[in-house]
Symmetry: C2
Subunit: 117 residues, 2 copies
Amino acid sequence: MSNYKTIETEKIEAEQLVDIFKALANGHRLKIYNILTTCCTPGTSCASDEVFSCCVGDLDSQLNIAASTLSHHLKELHRAGLIHMRRDGKQVFCSVNTQAMQQLQNIFSSNLVGVKS
Amino acid sequence: MSNYKTIETEKIEAEQLVDIFKALANGHRLKIYNILTTCCTPGTSCASDEVFSCCVGDLDSQLNIAASTLSHHLKELHRAGLIHMRRDGKQVFCSVNTQAMQQLQNIFSSNLVGVKS
DNA sequence: ACTATAATTCGAAATATGTCGAACTATAAA
DNA sequence: TTTATAGTTCGACATATTTCGAATTATAGT
């Protein structure tokens, strides 16, 4: 747990920002993130019986990659602090970290990359 | 010239977005982009006699990498459509593509990654 | 305890990226 | 036209990333 970024400070560290961009710099991961943004709107709980659920298996069915590869990508997104993952029984449910998304918006709004040097 | 992205459409293609994140997913390139954002505010022309100029040589002096490496990184940022490059005599001046920046902000504002599938 | 389902970890292989120095091109000045 | 300055291109090498299948862990049901 201590290995994973939280993105809670106002200004994001330059290195952390690189990690975030790195996490999004892949077609599969961007698609995953995209699916999660359109599925898990803030406040919505992602139960598996909803149309747009987002447990790992559901993502798997939309991606045409090996389960192990998907797992790897989810880990990357999680490590960057872009998504949440919680286990519920046999399944692991994923959702976007809306707070992180907010801060990314801020970064690109004023003059970009307002990072602590 | 036809090889370089322009980022003029409202919605950004998913692949293009991956290229943009890829371009920013590197410490040196992010630093370059950062320098350019704090130097070339919209409308400002970046003459070499200003304090914050941004010809390739000026960037070089701030980065501690080989000139050839810098050139490579600038090409990546340019290919992604994130910066402009124009030759003026012996020097090549770089500046951010503010339009691209704007669109990145939009992407992260509504529900992220509003990409054409 | 056994079986099935969901997901992760591991190790290997293929591909991509970052980096440098040497050689090259472009422009301006002597 | 020779020389100096500013950048780029090329080829090589080291490192990082992506991907898979096989083996493993976690949980729930029989």
